[in-house]
Amino acid sequence: MNGTINGSLNMIGYGLAAIGPGVGIGLIFAAYISGVARQPEARGVLQGIAILGFALAEALAIIGIGLAFVLS
């Protein structure tokens, strides 16, 4: 027992897989923030688009965690 690590390697894979969607979501909200800063009255329109893009990018991370649990 001493000196061993127990657990699933899937979780490390999931951690790596979450980098991509993390960067993507960051880019989406960066664009949203700079868009609102340039044109505050466009906030309502941009918000829906930003959340849509966030949901689509997040789906990749979510599929990752699903597969990390399924493929054990």
């Binding site: 001493n2 000196g3 061993t4 690590i5 309502g44 329109v45 829906g48 959340i51 849509l52 966030f54 949901a55 997040e58 789906a59 979510i62 599929i63 965690i65 699903g66 649990f69």
Partner: protein, 271 residues
Amino acid sequence: MHRAGNGDALHLVNVAQAAGGEPFHAPGPGDFEFPPLFGFFTKPMLIVVLAALFVGIGFYLAARRASLVPSKGQFLGEGVYGFVRNSIVGDTIGLRDGLKFVPYLVTLFSFIAVLNLSGILPVLQFPATSRIAIPLFLALISWVIYNYIGIKRHGFVGYFKAMMFPPGLPKPIYVLLAPLELLSTVIIRPITLTLRLTLNMFAGHLVLLVCILGGEYLLVEKGGVFAALSVVPFAFSIVLTFFEAFVQVLQAYVFVLLSALYIAGALADEH
């Protein structure tokens, strides 16, 4: 390989085991399985029934005595309805075509929001949508609706033609695009709708469990210095509960927004 000094996390585990008491059992998928309350009736099913009753009776009461000066209940009901109608349907489908989908989308939004919020309500404290069957069924209803609407609007061939062959692209692109669009619309959309909602609730509930059970373990099982440290996970669990409330409403919004977008895509005419 020589394994001495194999990292800090491992070191902590060994210290924890040496300090006595049983080791901490991290929460996992097993915490989402419930024994039946009676017969085959489990806690998630109870939450679904309660949520359906709450939404149904709530909207009935909100609309029953509608007056010009709204009561609190009527204000809440009209607020949810107006939000879905104006900022989801109005921006995606458009009110001319979309008004007949508003009742479905309002029901979907409030039902999912209540199911999600049951994850942070005391006593219930389990998001029923983290069991995959419930979002799957809701996603299948949306799937049937947007495909049916599209076929009804464009005809069977016309619907798939508009979906797979959007005009105005160079011919070789269609070799790649047509199967991808078909796969995306028919198979991937309901799966991502389901998984997004399920696993967001799953992951959120798991994080809350880690914080609360970890704090409880430090306070009750370890005691001493560790009991004082349990303040940290408990404080985190409070912050995360508010964050979860935000995520739960956001995910209900995303589910309904995507359903509305799929309906809008099925209804869209060729340009």
